[in-house]
């Protein structure tokens, strides 16, 4: 059919639709491309670069790059996995990620990505930046120590919740997630049921009074690597 776009990922022929990104087409084909800032239902953003693939030999973000006929995409290569792992390691040393007491541990996408890449410890020096916590809201807290600047909360708030609660401020190492109010999250119109709250991949935006709700061993990524659900579709489907 003229409505399909045929291209290759790691030597496998993939059929995409016009307007799809490489990541969307790969998902449908049961091929997992690692990602952190991409999130179903949100517009592509291209912030984290964990989804970097080689498109005709050039690095591109799979979450923003549209499918094109005849392109040759490399995804699961040793070099790319190594580079992606390095990005994840940098995220760990650039923030303050104390997994041992984080309520998100076991369900955290950053941590799960490190597990998937088999990272025992980052090889870079830890920066221990000074970041603050905003616990002003009665039901929600922001812990900027854990924020990886993926922008998911920003997009979820504007695209899904029809609000504009979050924005980035600052540049480079000073960039941080801020709220659209004089100072505090409590002064915004955010609600605990907003998608912006549940869209955070790490423990930077948390619902209060949830705590360690799921026991160790039963959490999302305790036994299966992140992306297994997408890959399972492939083995089951074809």
């Amino acid at each position: 059919m003229s409505n399909t776009i045929t291209f290759m990922i790691d030597g496998v022929e993939i059929e995409g639709k016009p307007g799809q990104t490489i990541m969307q087409a790969a998902d449908e084909a049961g091929i997992y491309i690692p990602r952190l800032c991409a999130f179903k239902g949100l517009s592509p953003y291209g912030a984290c670069r964990v989804c970097t693939v080689m498109v005709n030999g050039r690095p591109q973000a799979a979450c923003t790059q549209p499918v094109a006929p005849g392109t040759v995409v490399e995804n699961d290569t040793e070099r790319l996995q190594h580079l992606r792992g390095n990005i994840v390691e940098m995220m760990f040393v650039e923030g303050n990620h104390y997994c041992m007491f984080c309520e998100k541990s076991g369900n955290c996408e950053l941590q799960a990505m490190a597990y998937r890449f088999g990272i025992a410890a980052p090889k870079y020096p830890y920066l221990f930046p000074e970041r603050d916590v905003d616990a002003s809201h009665p039901d929600i807290l922001i812990d900027r120590n854990r924020c990886i600047l993926c922008g998911r909360c920003i997009r979820a708030s504007s695209d899904l919740d029809g609000k504009n609660v979050f924005q980035f401020v600052g540049r480079g190492k000073d960039k941080q997630i801020a709220v659209n109010a004089e100072a505090r999250l409590a002064d915004t119109d955010i609600d605990v049921t907003d998608q912006a709250v549940s869209s955070c991949p790490v423990g930077a935006i948390l619902k209060k009074r949830v705590g360690y709700a799921v026991p160790i061993g039963e959490r999302l990524y305790d036994h299966k690597p992140i992306g297994s659900d997408i890959e399972a579709a492939r083995t089951a489907g074809s």
């Binding site: 104390y98 997994c99 041992m100 597990y115 990272i119 025992a120 410890a121 830890y126 305790d222 036994h223």
Partner: protein
């Protein structure tokens, strides 16, 4: 042939990682068939008198004594392993890294809500190891050969890694044994 020697130490840690090592349960009997414990809080041997095959490091470096012990381990062990999140990234003690040392000491000894200290002194006896400006991950002080994350790492993680090293196999731990919490 003499059994390879293993040394262990707890630097700026809580002994939880040593507890996890003991948590290998009856495999400890197999372990003592494979190795001999050298300098370690387990047997209270205080000084290196022989070369060790493996050194297990719990905790990061928060004071000058930690640094000296860690350097001593590097000198006397063929393989050094950072065991646990504190050795790897400083762990809970590293939470002070974003607070100036003076403020930490004043909070602990002068201003904290439960402090009783009528003399208003902050301990500074020369016998007490000097605190460093921040807590350092071990691999920022000496070269570390292997990292076993976790708080603490599961007993199985420590066991599998030790057995692999002692039997000359690659340390290739399954997904379930590399966890950060």
């Amino acid at each position: 042939m003499a059994k390879p020697k293993v040394a262990t130490t707890s630097l700026c840690g809580c002994f939880g990682c040593h507890m996890s090592l003991l948590d290998i349960d009856d495999r400890i009997l197999k372990l003592v068939e494979l190795i001999e414990f050298h300098k370690s809080p387990i047997n209270d041997i205080k000084k290196f008198t022989a070369r060790c095959a493996i050194g297990l490091i719990e905790g990061g470096c928060c004071n000058d004594e930690n640094v000296h012990v860690l350097q001593d381990f590097r000198k006397n062990c063929d393989i050094l392993i950072s065991v646990g999140d504190c050795a790897i990234m400083g762990g809970i003690p590293a939470m002070r890294n974003t607070i100036p040392l003076k403020e930490c000491l004043e909070e602990a000894y002068l201003n904290g809500p439960t402090v009783y200290n009528p003399s208003g002194q902050i301990p500074n006896d020369p016998e007490i190891p000097l605190l460093l400006k921040q807590v350092y991950p071990c691999n920022e002080v000496v070269k570390i050969d292997y990292h076993l994350p976790g708080c603490p790492p599961p007993a199985d993680t420590i066991w599998e890694a030790l057995v692999a090293l002692l039997t000359d196999k690659p340390v290739d731990l399954p997904y379930e044994l590399i966890k950060y919490d």
